[in-house]
């Protein structure tokens, strides 16, 4: 199933970055930060430094599942959880296409791109909707956001 994110999701992910979670095949989770994020179609690309990528490399080779939520104020205002399968890319055209932008965010320390192909999107807003799977709901994800009253299509700009 192809999951295309809404504009709101895309804006928040790219502006705030994400908390990334992977796990060993027997269920030991590991968290690292995805400070640079770019959405393209049904994939999200995270720029990681060597230490950030190194922490999750072993797990990803054995178990590709990645879960992530929006960081910073997005943890409150953009209450989503995304799940998909990911892999690390350290060279080649995909790496090169994100390298310049990612290095600007990471202070020149880009080591790998984590590419995650999305399979599932959940709402994590506290209340009756917590845990609802949005990408398989009977209404579109845009309509879902509208019904929750989420009008802030992007985080406020810092002044």
């Amino acid at each position: 199933m192809t999951t295309i994110l809404t504009s709101r999701m895309e804006n928040w992910i790219e502006a705030c970055g994400c908390h990334l979670c992977v796990a060993s095949p027997d269920g030991v989770p590991v968290v690292t930060m995805g400070r640079y994020a770019k959405v393209s179609g049904n994939e999200v690309f995270f720029g990681l430094s060597a230490d950030e990528a190194g922490l999750i490399r072993t797990q990803l080779t054995e178990n590709p599942w990645v879960a992530f939520g929006v960081s910073q104020v997005g943890g409150v205002r953009a209450a989503y959880q995304f799940k998909g399968k990911g892999h690390l890319i350290t060279s080649g055209p995909i790496f090169d296409s994100y390298a310049k932008e990612a290095n600007e965010v990471l202070g020149g320390s880009l080591h790998a791109i984590l590419a995650v192909k999305l399979d599932e999107v959940y709402c994590t807003k506290p209340g009756h909707v917590a845990g609802t799977r949005m990408d398989t709901a009977p209404i579109s994800m845009e309509k879902f956001e509208e019904e929750l009253g989420w009008k802030d299509l992007a985080p406020p700009r810092r002044t």
């Binding site: 930060m33 922490l55 209340g127």
Partner: protein
């Protein structure tokens, strides 16, 4: 043995009391991860972090079969040197109905539920905007993480073991 520092304890409070938003990460037994932001957080004894079980779903299911969990904070703009920690350990959801004497690494269900069992009344979500706050509190228990290891989430030091 881990002992949370005062700086960590200050961070591990609800945002309205100077704490940072935390993320609770769990996994199913066959390795499907789950992560979500949490408001209700506090500490207990030297090495326990508490999270309210108010609207947990997958997290709860995961903890029923697999106690491995992480509570993460990444708040670079926090006062001081920023907050960048991942607290790793074993967690359980202590729900109403547990025997009062049930013990989780040195803390009893009675201590936990007496102290944090009605968290909405204890620390109401006054700082949460009205379009985000839940309509009715529905707490079913308290997640207790027994911290066994702390590693850094600071850029350039990610994964370095702090304790």
């Amino acid at each position: 043995m881990v002992k949370l520092t005062e700086e960590m304890r200050t961070a591990l409070k609800v945002p309205g009391k100077g704490g940072s938003l935390v993320y609770l990460a769990t996994s199913s037994l066959n390795g499907k991860p789950n992560i979500a932001a949490m408001r209700y957080v506090d500490t207990c004894k030297d090495d326990k972090i508490l999270i309210s079980d108010m609207f947990l779903l997958k997290t709860k299911m995961n903890l029923k079969e697999n106690p491995n969990a992480i509570i993460a904070i990444c708040h670079p703009l926090a006062a001081g040197a920023g907050r960048w920690w991942a607290f790793k350990g074993k967690a359980i959801d202590i729900e109403y109905g547990f025997s009062p004497n049930f013990d989780w690494f040195g803390v009893t269900a009675k201590e936990i539920l007496d102290g944090w069992g009605d968290w909405h009344a204890k620390e109401p979500p006054e700082e949460v905007p009205p379009d985000i706050v839940y309509p009715v509190a529905a707490q079913r228990g308290v997640v207790v993480l027994h911290v066994e290891e702390i590693y850094s989430l600071k850029a350039g030091e990610t994964g370095n073991r702090i304790m």
